[in-house]
């Protein structure tokens, strides 16, 4: 609207032709970009404060100017957060938690996606007997609050003998990721034309051949989406981590909590900030690296049902 009003100024003499002229500083643009910048700043300020604080030494932090940039940049808090901050019993920083988290996240993501994609494929393409019931049960599973199942699973893991170990937590993550991941894959595979599947059957491909040679190669986008969702979800998990592991197998998030909430000594805000950023780095990197693919995968899923 604003554009039109401006054109009807001195330019009315010009015969309209070709692309409509655009004005960088039209009222509409100022409004749109203004809003966007405002929202971006609102979300970025906390991050800014964190980064700035983590680069200050403790004396500077005590001055209390949280918005001012560091007068003297130091990486000491980062080093401390990583390798020597005290988390409850041991004082070797977040590094232990980081490697625990890696050892939890990688197998959990692989296991849950491998199982869920096969589940989704079987549900979507092989209409076996009871498929609908199975699917309904899974969907219901997606809506049951986790808290209800925490204690039964503790008992279950204890009985199997893997309570407190990393493999126990991996199993828990794989199970809890199952409903939503299966739903994701089922919907994606259901949108694959049925005739493709029939053609493969005429060509003599069985359950696994169709899955591996036909379905997998055409579902890269949905795998990327699943990997992102699971990686960030499992990396950020705190509840299962604190319940199903022991101090020496705590994931990074639990360690972070222990650092930040430790009651002894002075509050080292700079170390806390560095630790927090370090913990959030993995999901952040995942988003940055795969953001474009992620959007494309979500869009593909949306368009195809």
């Amino acid at each position: 609207m604003a554009d039109v009003a401006e054109i009807s100024g001195p330019q009315t003499a010009i015969e309209p032709r070709g692309a409509r002229p655009r004005h960088a500083f039209s009222r509409r643009n100022i409004f749109i970009y203004g809003t966007l910048i405002l929202v971006a700043v609102y979300y970025l300020i906390p991050l800014y404060v964190m980064v700035v604080t983590s680069l200050k030494g403790m004396p500077e932090v005590r001055l209390g100017n949280i918005f001012s940039p560091p007068m003297e940049i130091t990486f000491e808090p980062w080093v401390k957060a990583w390798s020597s901050a005290c988390t409850g019993l041991n004082c070797d920083g977040l590094s232990r938690g980081f490697w625990n988290s890696v050892r939890i996240t990688v197998p959990s993501v692989i296991l849950s996606i491998a199982i869920a994609s096969v589940n989704g494929y079987a549900l979507a393409n092989w209409r076996f007997k009871g498929a609908d019931i199975f699917f309904t049960v899974l969907i219901v599973g997606a809506f049951i609050p986790y808290q209800v199942m925490i204690y039964p699973i503790v008992i279950l893991l204890r009985e199997i003998g893997i309570y407190g170990s990393l493999s126990g937590l991996v199993l828990v993550h794989a199970i809890f990721g199952m409903p939503i991941m299966t739903l994701l894959f089922r919907n994606y595979f259901a949108a694959v034309p049925e005739e493709l599947f029939k053609a493969a059957r005429v060509d003599g491909a069985g359950f696994w051949a169709i899955y591996l040679k036909i379905m997998l190669p055409m579902s890269l986008p949905i795998f990327v989406v699943a990997i992102i969702l699971q990686t960030t979800g499992i990396w950020n998990d705190f509840l299962f981590g604190v319940v199903y592991t022991r101090p020496d197998t705590y994931p990074m998030t639990v360690q972070l909590n222990n650092i930040v909430n430790s009651v002894q000594g002075v509050k080292e805000y700079n170390v806390n900030m560095a630790a927090t950023i370090l913990t959030g780095l993995v999901p952040l990197i995942v988003y940055f690296v795969s953001g474009r693919l992620f959007v494309r995968g979500i869009a593909a899923g949306a368009v195809k049902g």
Partner: protein, 362 residues
């Protein structure tokens, strides 16, 4: 020798019965077309033959072997789908070889078959492309090639041309016909396009509601439809129908509808045309002639031109006869003006008579 034989086939999806006690024998090397309106069960029947659907009852024989419980790959069939269904991540060559690799065919044999199929379908230059880089017609050729390399006795086509534009469709139609002449194997071809059916088929099975209404050679289906459904489904422009009754004696039956009377002398039928019998008389638009002078008595009547639709080679003229609309196909050389008075001449030998109650041909 029958190639495909279907005995008492029934198929139900839950409570919905799609195919009912269907029997069908397809001869060796025959080109059979399944024709019918949307939803009549053509694809379902084809999928049953291919083994892609579990049937409820009945038996299926291919080359004399009972394949009712066999897997699709073991039935000796190749199938071409409407949406091409090419594997998008594989090259054309990959698409063609996929089935052969699954079957464990030796390398040199695969190469030999690919070469032959590519040669027949003229897709050699496309072998290393992805399906996404092909045009619709090329994709359909590759899809046919995928069935071809399987070296099977029976080809199943499910509306293979319906995603193509009119020109390409008629080109590929000719190619499929040529392919059939060259390979001489059995082909079962599903379509709802009657031109495709009439041009390609050795025999046509017209289906409706899961039942085969008529199974005959194309011209028999066209000229002597067995019931009202087949008569109205086949033919474009559609057949004219007039409801009336038989009068006159058995020796010289006459059809009467209001003021309109048409002699039926010369109409071939095994049944007797008893006076008082309520019937529907059908004439194809090209089996009526328009004339400026009255024709032979009893076979001619007066009519008023309503509309003239030129269609290129010929025109479709709509006329009013005794209050009824009738279309006649004439040479487009002469245009008719609305309101013009003309005479129609009927040829009873080319007519079709149907019982009003049963809708079957008399």
């Amino acid at each position: 020798m029958t190639s495909v034989s279907i005995k008492d086939l029934s198929l139900e999806f839950g409570a919905v019965s799609v195919l009912k006690d269907l029997n069908l024998d397809v001869g060796d090397g025959e080109f059979l077309v399944l024709l019918g309106p949307s939803g009549c069960g053509k694809s379902t029947l084809l999928n049953c033959i291919a083994g892609l659907l579990d049937i409820t009852d009945g038996q299926i024989f291919i080359k004399g072997k009972n394949v009712t419980w066999e897997e699709p790959k073991d039935r000796g069939i190749g199938m071409v789908f409407q949406s091409y269904a090419l594997y998008p991540q594989m090259s054309v060559r990959g698409n063609l070889t996929f089935g052969l690799k699954n079957a464990g065919v030796p390398r040199d044999e695969i190469a030999r078959r690919i070469e032959r199929a590519a040669n027949i379908l003229q897709i050699e230059p496309l072998l290393d492309r992805r399906p996404g880089q092909l045009s619709g017609g090329q994709r359909q050729r590759v899809a046919i090639g995928r069935a071809l390399v399987r070296d099977v006795d029976v080809f199943l086509f499910d509306e293979p041309l319906s995603n193509l534009d009119a020109k390409l469709r008629s080109e590929l139609r000719v190619e499929i016909k040529r392919l059939h002449q060259q390979l001489a194997n059995t082909m079962i071809y599903v379509t709802h396009d009657q031109i495709e059916a009439l041009t390609l088929a050795d025999r046509i099975a017209v289906m409706k509601g899961g039942l085969i209404q008529q199974l005959d050679e194309p011209l028999t289906i066209y000229n002597r439809p067995r019931n009202l459904f087949v008569a109205s489904f086949i033919g474009s422009p559609a057949m004219n129908f007039i409801k009336g009754e038989i009068t006159g004696t058995n020796g010289s039956p006459v059809f009467r509808a209001g003021d309109l009377t048409i002699s039926l002398a010369g109409y071939e039928t095994q049944q007797s045309l008893a006076p008082g019998h309520c019937v529907i008389l059908g004439f194809r638009p090209e089996h009526i002639t328009i004339s400026d002078v009255p024709g032979p008595a009893g076979r001619s009547c007066e009519a008023v031109v309503d509309l003239d639709e030129p269609m290129g080679a010929d025109s479709l003229v709509w006329l009013k006869v005794a209050g009824k609309a009738i279309s006649v196909r004439v040479d487009s050389g002469r245009r008719y003006q609305p309101g013009e008075k003309v005479f129609l001449i009927f040829n009873p030998a080319m007519a079709s008579l149907f019982d009003v109650a049963t809708e079957n041909r008399i």
